[in-house]
Structures are given as structure tokens and as C-alpha cells.
């Protein structure tokens, strides 16, 4: 399987477009892809975006500055994922927090269950001891 996966050549999209484009959303309105992955030939958003991205890269603009330029022009929706600032953090934190809350609930539930189980077992043990003593008393009467 690995052999199959490795038997490929490099792709045709320039690496800088692949790298920076992955951080930018395609805003054509009919796909959910990024500027790097949009496959629509002549896409009215991605095609000029790729061209601008390449030109900025050639003129020595850093990746972060290219992304910042897109955000300045289009707003935060130009980013493929919510920005890691302000309310944008909730996009990243909500799921782990919910999962943590779930784990917390499960831990509480498991502990409570085990406590109940131990208590019930102890109660059962006391009962058994009680019956055993009663049985021994009865049996001892027969012996008498």
C-alpha cells in the first residue's frame, strides 16, 4: 500500500500557492474549498487570488503578510478557518471543552456507580454473614 502511495510525482500547483492558499478560503460561493484546493477551472475568486498570491510571493512578501493583505481586502471571511483571536477562539475551544465536560461527567458517573456497587456489595456481605450466623445457630440447635 505504501508503495502505491509513494509511486506519485509532484503536483502542478506551485508550492507557495499550496502553502498560503490553504490558509485562504475560496469565496466563490459554490464550494467549501480553499484557494489551494479549489478545482474549478477559471473560478472567479480562486484564479485571480492565486495569481495575486504568486505575484506577491515573487516580490518577496512573506506568507503572513500575503494572508494579512487578503484579510484587509475581503475581511476575516477570507481566512479558511476562523482567526485565533476574540470570538474566533470559541471555534477551536468549544469542542475540546464539550469533550472535557463529557469526560468529567463520565468520570463522575463511573465513580458514583462504583461507590454504589461497593456499598451494595458491602450490604450484601453483611446480609450473607447474618444468614450464615443464623444458619449456624439453627444447625447448632439440631446438634443439641
Amino acid at each position: 500500500m505504501a508503495g502505491i502511495c509513494l509511486a506519485q510525482t509532484g503536483d502542478m500547483v506551485p508550492p507557495e500557492v499550496r502553502r498560503v492558499g490553504d490558509r485562504l478560503a475560496c469565496l466563490c460561493g459554490s464550494c467549501n474549498n480553499t484557494v489551494a484546493t479549489c478545482q474549478m477551472v477559471g473560478c472567479h475568486y480562486t484564479a485571480p487570488a492565486r495569481q495575486r498570491l504568486s505575484e506577491m510571493h515573487k516580490s518577496g512578501v512573506s506568507d503572513d503578510a500575503i494572508v494579512a493583505d487578503f484579510v484587509k481586502r475581503e475581511g476575516k471571511k477570507a481566512l479558511a478557518a476562523p482567526p485565533t483571536e476574540g470570538f474566533g477562539w470559541t471555534a477551536y475551544l468549544a469542542t475540546p471543552l464539550m469533550a472535557l465536560a463529557g469526560v468529567g461527567f463520565l468520570t463522575w458517573y463511573l465513580r458514583r456507580s462504583r461507590r454504589k456497587a461497593v456499598a451494595a456489595q458491602a450490604e450484601e456481605t453483611i446480609d450473607v454473614e447474618k444468614y450464615q450466623k443464623a444458619a449456624e445457630r439453627e444447625l447448632s440447635r439440631f446438634d443439641e
Binding site: 500500500m1 502505491i4 506519485q8 503536483d11 481566512l79 479558511a80 482567526p83 463529557g102 456507580s113
Partner: protein, 670 residues
């Protein structure tokens, strides 16, 4: 004829209301004739919806453009089967499909339970018909499929219809929507029985046993529907994406996640009498997520390439959702005493705990997808600024969740009920774990460095090993005891406990699908303006466009490129991808050609002719292992069908009642 259709829908609407009222009043006043009348009303509603559907289908097939719906969603030259599929190509028709599927389910439930569950049935019927009332409201008032164009009243006669969206003119679209709807709508049945059970405080887990098969069957439809949608996207949209985290795709996946969680947690209730509240919550969540999915598709609150039928009926859905959820919460809170567990968990390392973790992970995934889908809307409401949540975000969040779930798929079934011993864990997991580590090291040494792909391949081996181990152990024991051959012993083993071994097959299907998903890490693509006779390369393939042809059918004009593919200098295959422009919609659509193989797909799309040089623009893709996704589905389907076969041996499971129910046992008098 059109008036009969509209009248049938209107009468069905009235009779559905009557059915709800008669069932509830009959149960309340203990009037059997009213209960029976409510059930018969279901049969009448069924007949009326069949009539209405028949009329719409007849109008579609005969291209009766007096019907606004027919004119908007079909045209004369479409093949008859696409005329039939126009039924669900637009808003009004797809809502009629909801009603059609729902009333079939209600009809079967009523017929099946003529003599069973008599105390519960009025409430089951009321729940089913209340849902029917909602969907018939839509078809009666805001979205009637029987609206007529005022032809002959100084309005030009419609010569031909607009035609069906060309993207929907593909064979999977003939079955994808009905099957997905059968999965969506089908969960109303377990939900209705759960409500019936809650209202009547049925002793025991009757509703669970009654609806077990329903839940599995509707889960099969959901899985099939989602996979057909993925197959359609792969073959039609032109870039080979079978899953793009589009909002509509996402909302179709949410009920699948909760229903999968339910199919696991319900075993805890069947075998141990635990998780009763949780199971009701999962069934209700699945049902309401199905409604929510339809709401998202129709309301237009999120933009989607799949929202073929968005409109302003979202508010109706919102009201139904709010009322339904509020009523369900009220019912559950009012019956908490009836939903108490009959047993308690004894150990963290047990089958019971693994089910809990499985549920947690499935719901975490469900929450993540829901959150990501709604985040642009929520963010805009809070900050006033739009943000995008695209595929990379969903992948980042869901891939780790998926991998953990895959891990649990291998671990869970091998843990014993109540409490797993250290010796048992070692015996079951030592070799699969070592095998996984060695395999991953080997792959890494061979150059597979993509972390997620590496982990996926490793975990797939781990799960496969544990499943094979389970089959081998059971089969060997039977083969030895019954003096059977290995294969008959496998069949015998599976037949003895179909749900367990069918479940393992389903897990195996999921493993195979994950192998297919992991292949995406190695996708390759190229887009070239191909010069005729000149070779271009992708991977090990040399491709050459040798000609461009064109032609016309009744429905569209087409242009195809002849692409000769060679491997290692030797001719391999000739593919002819097409692009079509449909006559009525004037919408260009690609008809890709795919060379499907077990190890990779070669996928060629004739995207366009370049405007200046008039050369064909050819997009070529290599999708490693993608066929494994479809093979995985067939294994999953086979496993699910095995689960539906009654087991040869009726197993009874010891409930740990002494532990959990100690307080309920009568004390011995002192």
C-alpha cells in the same frame, strides 16, 4: 386531475389531524372505537398521499406543463427516469416525498401492530401523525406541488419546462434522495415508540425490542444515502471530492452519528437495563436532527452547493423543532423515576465503559460538525463580521476524533462485560498492538511520513487483527466441538449470535472505509491546457489528447476529449471525458471518466476549452485507495443485514442486579 391532487393533500391533512385527535382522545377516554378510527385514518391518509403522488408523477412523465412544478423542474426531452426523479428535484416535490415515505412507515406500523402494543399504539399513531400533519401543512399551504400556471388566461403557453438541474441528472440521484429520506424519516418510528413508552410508562424495555429492527433498517438507509451522496459528489462535481464538509453534507451526517451512538448504547439497555434516559435522548436527538437537517437545507441560513430547494419555509421547521423538543424534554423530565437504571457500572475497564466512551466520541464529533456548520452564522450574529469555516477546519477537528473512534472499534468489542481482567487485556491486545507498532514502523521506513495516514493504517491493522482474532477463536471452538470445516464453522458462529458477528463485519467495513479515507493524504492532481498529440504526465501515467469530438442528444450538446493513457511507454487505456451543455438550463456540466482500480483511481475531467487557443483543459487526478471506501460500504451493508437475521441461539445476559438494585430488594425480616 390537478384539483384531485390538491384535494387529496388537503383531505390527507385534515385526516391526519383527526387521527392525532382520535388516538389521543380514544386513549384518554378509553374508547377503543376512537383508537381504531385513528388507526384507520392512517390508512386513509396513506391512500390519499399515494393518489396525490401518482397524479404528480403522471404529470411529470407526461410533461404536463400546466403544473408549475412540472414546468419548473422537468422538460420534454429528459429521459423518463429523470422525469420521475424530478419528483424530488424541487421544494414542493421533495416535501411530498417526505410525506410519501412517512405515511408508508406509519401504514406499516399500524398494520404490523394491529394486535400488539395496544396500550402504546394510540400514542405511537399520534406521534407519527403529528409529524405527518407538519409535513402536510407545508404541502397544503406554502409548498403545494399542485399549483397551476394560468395558461389560456392571456398568458403565453409553456412550450417546454426548465428542466432538472443537470447536476441531478446522474444515476445515483435516482435513488440517493429516496434512500436518504427513508433513513431520515424512518427514525420517526423508534421515536414514536419511545414517546409511546414514556407516556404509558411501559414496564421493561418493550419499545427497545420492538424498534430494534426499525433502528437498524433506518440506519442502513442513512448509511446508504450518505454513501450514495458521496459517490455522486465524487463522480459528478468534477474534482473527485466525495466529502467536502459542505453544510448540507454535514447536517445529513449528524443524525447518522447519533443513531450510531444509539445502536451501541441500546445494547446496554437490552443487556443490563442501563442508560434508559440516554437512549431516549439519542432517539429523540436523531429524529430532531433529521428535521434540523431539512430545516438547514430549506431555510437558506447557510450557503450550500447542495441546497437545491431553499425557500422561506424555515420558520415552520423552527416552530416544529422548538415545540417537539420542548415536549420531549417535558416527557423525559416527568418520567425520570420510570427511566432509572437497573444496574450500575462496576469497572472503568469494561464493555459498558467502552460503550460510554464510544458515545462520547460520536457525540463530540456530532457537536464539532454542528458547531463548525453553524459557526459562521453565530459569529456574524455575535461580532457582526462573517467568517469562513472550510474543509481544513473540519479535518483538523474530526480526524483525531475519527482515529480515536477507530481505536475504540478495535478495543471495545474485546472487553468483557462488567469487568475486564489484566490477564484478559493482555491476552486480547498484546499481539494486535505489537503488530500495529511493527506495521507502522515498517510503513515509516518505507517513506510513509504523513502522521494521520500512518496512524490510520496502523489502527486499521489493529482493528482487523482484533476482529479476525475474535472470529478465529469462536470458529476454532465450534469447528472442534462440532467436527466442522472452518468455513461452515464461521457461518455457524455468525448465525449463533448474528448481532455480535454482524456488528464485527460492520466494524470491518468501517476499517476498509478508513483505509480509503487515508488514501486522500496522497492525492495528486494536475490541470493542463492540452496540446493535441503532446504528452503530459501525472504519477506513472503518460497522457495524450488525440482528438476532440462533439455531438448532440435530445437533452444536451456534448463535447468529448479522447485521452490516451500509457504506463511505462505502453498503451494502457483510452478514456473519453465529456462536457455537456443542457438545452433547457444552458448549464455546462462535466461527465468525468474514471479508471477505477483497487489501488487507485485515475480520474479525468474535461473542464473546458480554453477561450484563446481553443485547446481542451484537462484536469487529471490520482486518488489512491478511494475504491476501498465503496468496498467498505458493501461490507458494512453485509454486516448490517447479518444483524437483522435472528440469532440461532437466544442469549440471556446476567444483569448485575444484586449490585445495582440492592436497595430495591425486599429486606429479610429480622
Amino acid at each position: 386531475m390537478e384539483n384531485i391532487g390538491a384535494l387529496a393533500i388537503m383531505l390527507a391533512f385534515c385526516l391526519s389531524i383527526y387521527s392525532v385527535a382520535a388516538s389521543l382522545v380514544g386513549a384518554w377516554k378509553k374508547k377503543p372505537f376512537l383508537i381504531a378510527s385513528g388507526e384507520r385514518a392512517v390508512v386513509a391518509v396513506w391512500a390519499l398521499i399515494m393518489l396525490a403522488t401518482g397524479i404528480l408523477l403522471y404529470a411529470l412523465v407526461t410533461s404536463d406543463f400546466r403544473f408549475a412544478y412540472v414546468a419548473a423542474h422537468s422538460n420534454r426531452d429528459m429521459p423518463w427516469y429523470y422525469k420521475v426523479s424530478s419528483w424530488w428535484g424541487g421544494q414542493e416535490g421533495s416535501l411530498l416525498l417526505w410525506n410519501f415515505v412517512l405515511v408508508w412507515y406509519a401504514f406499516v406500523v399500524v398494520i404490523q401492530n394491529r394486535k400488539r402494543h395496544r396500550a402504546m399504539m394510540p400514542y405511537v399513531v399520534a406521534t407519527l401523525m403529528a409529524t405527518q400533519v407538519f409535513f402536510l401543512t407545508l404541502n397544503t399551504f406554502p409548498a403545494s406541488p399542485f399549483q397551476m400556471l394560468a395558461q389560456g388566461q392571456n398568458i403565453v403557453e409553456v412550450q417546454d419546462g426548465n428542466g432538472l438541474n443537470p447536476l441531478l441528472q446522474y444515476w445515483t440521484m435516482l435513488i440517493h434522495p429516496p434512500i436518504l429520506y427513508m433513513g431520515y424519516v424512518g427514525f420517526v418510528v423508534p421515536f414514536a415508540f419511545a414517546m409511546g413508552s414514556l407516556i404509558t410508562r411501559q414496564p421493561g424495555d418493550q419499545w427497545i425490542f420492538t424498534t430494534r429492527r426499525w433502528a437498524i433498517v433506518t440506519w442502513i438507509f442513512q448509511s446508504t444515502g450518505v454513501l450514495l451522496g458521496a459517490g455522486w459528489a465524487y463522480a459528478v462535481l468534477g474534482w473527485g471530492g466525495y466529502w467536502g464538509w459542505d453544510p448540507v453534507e454535514n447536517v445529513s451526517f449528524l443524525p447518522w452519528l447519533t443513531s450510531t451512538a444509539y445502536l451501541h448504547s441500546v445494547m446496554m439497555q437490552e443487556k443490563k437495563g442501563m442508560m434508559k434516559i440516554w437512549n431516549i435522548v439519542l432517539v429523540a436527538s436523531t429524529f430532531f436532527l433529521c428535521i434540523f437537517g431539512t430545516f438547514m437545507t430549506r431555510s437558506g441560513i447557510v450557503a450550500s452547493v447542495h441546497a437545491f430547494a431553499s425557500s422561506n419555509i424555515g420558520n415552520y421547521f423552527l416552530v416544529f423543532l422548538v415545540l417537539g423538543i420542548a415536549l420531549t424534554i417535558y416527557m423525559i423530565l416527568g418520567r425520570l423515576d420510570y427511566l432509572k437504571s437497573e444496574a450500575e457500572l462496576e469497572s472503568v475497564v469494561s464493555r459498558e465503559s467502552s460503550f460510554l466512551f464510544n458515545n462520547l466520541i460520536l457525540l463530540a464529533s456530532c457537536f464539532a460538525i454542528l458547531w463548525g456548520t453553524l459557526f459562521p452564522v453565530i459569529s456574524e450574529a455575535v461580532t457582526g463580521e462573517k467568517v469562513s469555516v472550510d474543509a481544513p477546519w473540519f479535518n483538523r477537528v474530526n480526524i483525531p476524533i475519527g482515529l480515536f473512534l477507530l481505536f475504540l472499534t478495535g478495543v471495545g468489542p474485546l472487553l468483557s462485560w462488567r469487568r475486564a481482567s489484566a490477564a484478559g487485556l493482555k491476552r486480547n491486545f498484546q499481539w494486535p498492538f505489537i503488530g500495529m507498532v511493527v506495521f507502522m514502523a515498517g510503513l515509516f521506513a518505507m517513506g510513509v511520513h504523513h502522521p494521520y495516514a500512518l496512524m490510520t493504517f496502523g489502527l486499521c491493522l489493529f482493528v482487523t487483527w482484533t476482529i479476525a482474532q475474535e472470529f478465529y477463536k469462536g470458529t476454532s471452538a465450534i469447528a472442534k466441538k462440532e467436527s466442522m470445516g472452518f468455513l461452515p464453522a464461521v457461518v455457524e458462529l455468525t448465525h449463533r449470535n448474528t448481532r455480535r458477528y454482524g456488528g464485527y463485519l460492520v466494524h470491518m467495513g468501517v476499517v476498509i472505509m478508513f483505509i480509503g479515507f487515508a488514501g486522500a493524504a496522497f492525492n495528486k492532481d494536475s490541470t493542463v491546457e492540452a496540446e493535441q498529440g503532446k504528452t503530459f504526465q501525472l504519477g506513472r501515467y503518460d497522457l495524450k489528447v488525440t482528438g476532440v469530438k462533439s455531438g448532440q442528444t435530445d437533452n444536451y450538446v456534448w463535447q468529448s476529449a479522447t485521452v490516451e493513457v500509457a504506463v511505462g511507454g505502453k498503451p494502457y487505456v483510452t478514456l473519453e471525458p465529456e462536457r455537456r451543455i443542457y438545452s433547457q438550463s444552458q448549464q455546462p456540466v462535466g461527465a468525468v471518466k474514471i479508471l477505477r482500480k483497487w489501488n487507485e483511481d485515475l480520474y479525468i475531467n474535461f473542464a473546458a476549452m480554453s477561450s484563446e487557443a481553443q485547446k481542451p483543459i484537462i484536469q487529471t487526478y490520482i486518488f489512491p485507495l478511494v475504491s476501498w471506501i465503496w468496498v467498505g460500504y458493501w461490507v458494512l451493508l453485509a454486516g448490517s443485514l447479518v444483524c437483522l437475521v435472528p440469532s440461532k441461539v437466544k442469549l440471556s445476559y446476567a444483569r448485575t442486579e444484586v449490585v445495582g438494585m440492592a436497595g430495591k430488594h425486599e429486606k429479610v425480616a429480622k
